[in-house]
């Protein structure tokens, strides 16, 4: 929202989450919601990141640990499947990588500038446990 003057906003510094009526929000996913421009969903914290998580779906078992423990609603899951990371809202904390149980992990942290295709091409091999 632009920096409006004193006469250009609603009284009481009240904010609305959505434009118009929003029924059944608890069962409506982000793509079907009519967010107001004062909903933080419309903003980005991508510039907070130093490292970013990259997702390799080849190894993902859709356990949803990353979904439940993501503090930033940035693991996109639909129909019980993990389908990607919301890079506008991910702050790069790395929890998703830590809780990922697959071997190799299906989420890994990379420098923010890392090219995704290169990373996927060079994804680590399965680690064998040292005996």
């Amino acid at each position: 929202m632009e920096n409006n003057g004193w006469n250009e906003f609603e009284i009481g510094a009240m904010l609305r989450s959505f434009d118009g009526a929003a029924t059944n929000i608890a069962t409506t996913h982000t793509e079907d919601r009519n967010y107001s421009n004062s909903n933080s969903f419309t903003a980005s914290v991508a510039d907070w990141r130093i490292e970013k998580p990259l997702f390799n779906k080849d190894y993902c078992i859709d356990c949803q640990f990353c979904w439940i423990y993501c503090p930033d609603m940035s693991i996109i899951s639909r129909d019980k499947k993990m389908i990607g990371v919301d890079m506008d809202h991910c702050k790069g904390c790395g929890i998703c990588v830590e809780v990922c149980p697959t071997n190799p992990k299906s989420l890994l942290m990379y420098a923010e500038q890392q090219d995704e295709d290169v990373a996927l091409a060079e994804w680590p091999e399965k680690e064998t446990k040292e005996k």
Binding site: N3, G5, W6, N7, I11, G12, M14, L15, A21, I25
Partner: protein, 407 residues
Amino acid sequence: MAFDKMELRDIEVWDGNFAAAQAMRQAQIDVVAAYPITPSTPIVEGYAKFLADGYVEGEFVMVESEHAAMSGCIGAAAAGGRVATATSSQGFALMVETLYQSSGMRLPIVLNVVNRALAAPLNVNGDHSDMYLGRDSGWIQLDAYSPQEAYDLNFIAFKVSEDHDVRLPCMVHQDGFMTSHTAQGVKTFTDDVAYGFVGEYKPMNDMLDLDHPVTHGVQTEEDWHFEHKARQHNDLMTKVMPKIQEVFDAFEELSGRKYNIVEKYDMDDADVAVVCMGTSVETAREVAKEMRADGIKAGVVGIRVLRPYPFAEIIEALKDIKAIAALDRSSPNGAPGMLFNELAGALFNTDSKAALSGYVYGLGGRDLTKAHLVDLYKELQANADAGKVLTPLQQFIGVRGPKLAYL
């Protein structure tokens, strides 16, 4: 759930507390969150009894402190319904944080303040310390001088406060004990007429509109805070007085009882005037009439609307007066009194040549006697004759010990 209407006589003998409680009942408040404190307790008790007897259909939340009372009122008002409560003195002081929050969030809440002194030393009697404490809180402040006015101003308060152009909380003040516990004749409305005047509550930005979620009570820092405070001030400065006048007019049409933003008594040809609030207005009116027998053209100005401050109305009321006394019933604690300062602020850039002097009186319920006022009017006449203030600018009236006078 239903509730019964109450049959009232045309004129009931009520004290200010009961008059306020009756007005709250007739306004059909949805939520009252309250905590008892002398001398406003009977308002809360009265409302509780109405509830117990089935005359009220709403929630009565008896909380554990005045801070919680206003907090609960804020939550309820933001949820979307008619809300009111009552308090005094220390309870008012404990509420102060939430007073700023409720006005900043633009929530219409009616607060009956039965004025009482502030400790220390502890005192249960009436002065205006609590009323003065609230004057920068962003609330509308109406002052009742009698039980009748406490009754009437409650209806007016709901109507002004809840208006969508206003949406600011409103205090209705009355003097502790002198008004709150003194029974007088009060002309009543029937329940239907009273509710008809206040009207149905019209929600705005209500949290309970579940299909339109709202966020109340945000954080604003240096990039937004100033604009929001400016907006609130602007609305107090430009929108509230016209609305109050409109509601006063409607009320007069309904009841025949006329209220003015600034009340003027014997002011048309007055040379000298006392400006005061609360029950002192009635005492001063009586003395002013008597002074006229002695050849002093005395008048009285009562402040009906303390906030927003009636700047233009004050100038108009005092424009031809030669000597003015500002009567402050709150210890200024190291400054001229509030009324003195605000009258001076209003008159300073006008053509008024009035001699303005200030008096501090009545702290902790000390009586302001007619004798005090007789002396005071005589001092004003001397000032008027001399064309300047002959006394110190600040004098204390009615305090024991050597005379206190400053400035």
